[in-house]
Symmetry: C2
Subunit: 107 residues, 2 copies
């Protein structure tokens, strides 16, 4: 399993607009080989710390690193990323971090 | 859906030992109500940036925030966290971040 996370710091007053843009977006992920699942996550705080308003993570799970990179170099990726500008909504550029699963357990 | 991530910065030379400790651990997650899945993730780099050696994320998915907090206050949680010291392996205390899913799409 392979997980790609893209972290966005949104101007807090624009959080609702950010969520709306994502909800209206076509992900172009249906039927992409090796795609497992996608979620848009909103920071809900930590261990005794309050939520960081405006922090979001676009979180996608893949069968393998190869499947992710094949998609990242595909036309489906270009289509998915050509929609809806986030200009003026983000406090800075998003940061991508990629993760390889070392251990896995399902319910 | 609700995701809890606990980020560990491991002394790079101790990464193998850290993975071994986790592999030998009993998670005590079987049958916990609302538990969906668990993974131990290893940083695999970013968009054109090299991996951060020693960064790991313990990543658990839950049906809801309520299910996560019920587990975090349970005996199963205490048992799962009473095993294996990470003393001398971490560069600092782990940081927990909790996330609420705003959007979800499965393959």
């Amino acid at each position: 399993m392979f997980i790609a996370m893209n972290r966005f710091q949104v101007v807090p007053e624009k959080a609702e607009e950010f969520e709306r843009i994502w909800a209206e977006r076509e992900t172009h992920l249906d039927g992409v080989p090796g795609f497992v699942r996608f979620a848009l996550l909103r920071n809900g705080g930590g261990h005794g710390t309050p939520p960081n308003p405006g922090e979001y993570v676009s979180h996608s799970t893949w069968e393998s690193r190869e499947a992710f990179f094949a998609w990242a170099n595909s036309d489906a990726f270009k289509k998915g990323h050509a929609q809806g500008s986030l200009m003026g909504i983000l406090e800075g550029p998003p940061t991508v971090t990629l993760y390889d699963a070392v251990l896995e357990q399902d319910a």
